[in-house]
Symmetry: C2
């Protein structure tokens, strides 16, 4: 059977049902139809959701991702955009690497207080000047609510 109900999709894609409804509302995914009230998705949606996850991971907003699919559903991702993102990502990676090294140093640093450690101060100034935007400290998605849509990933 190629028709998945929302719970099944949720389970397979690792998102909640409400997220799926939200994505549908935003036009990021579509259901093949309904059986009664219930949405039926076909299995391709899983792939699409992976694509969406990929886009999110790369730092695209949902709106941007939405614009990347043609009306037909084909992912019409412009290659230029991809490489632009790749380069942006590369810059981010470089900064993060420097930061990681700095943190490691500071963690191992023998100076009594971090402020007395020259390396730490150096990171400090580069962090100040660098326009690196914070990594999202998104709240770690709740895995379980009490009733109803328990179609969450997690213990299932």
């Amino acid at each position: 059977m190629n028709e998945l109900d929302i719970g099944e999709v949720a389970r397979r894609a690792g998102v909640t049902a409400s997220t799926l409804r939200f994505y549908e509302e935003k036009g990021l995914i579509a259901s093949r139809g309904r059986r009664g009230l219930r949405r039926l998705f076909d299995a391709e949606v899983i792939e699409r959701l992976a694509l969406i996850a990929l886009g999110r991971t790369a730092g695209f907003s949902l709106d941007e991702i939405g614009r990347m699919f043609g009306a037909d559903g084909q992912p019409r991702i412009e290659r230029g955009k991809l490489s632009a993102k790749a380069e942006e990502l590369d810059r981010t990676i470089k900064r993060l690497s420097a930061l990681r090294d700095g943190l490691r140093h500071a963690a191992a640093c023998p100076a009594p207080s971090h402020m007395e450690c020259p390396t730490f101060r150096r990171i400090l100034s580069s962090a100040g000047s660098g326009a690196l935007r914070p990594l999202a400290a998104r709240k770690p998605r709740r895995l379980i609510s009490k009733g109803g849509d328990r179609t969450t990933n997690g213990k299932d």
Copy 2:
């Protein structure tokens, strides 16, 4: 003169005055006192702001950062926390690197549509499984409002 008014601090630290008031309210920074209504900061606050920026960059929330300063103002950053963050950062970097390579490949890939490219599909599945949280796509701070607190960085 060691006493900076809020505008000066804002300019030097590259944040808006409202951000500084907000940070003060949250207890992340403190002003040395007031001249009339106006806050006076001493120059050390710049360093502190750099520290805050560093923390943000590393993915700490403002609350977490707040907890890192002792009541005295000394940055009591636990080294364990630093290295934990460093390792977290390292994992993020690894994922981002894979993603970057994937994007580069997809950009250069000769397959007619991305979905037909095996490499792309591979990235897709790893992005799906990986719990990499999206990089913040924070809105690119507005540099200028019309009046009042124009103490923003930017054209200055």
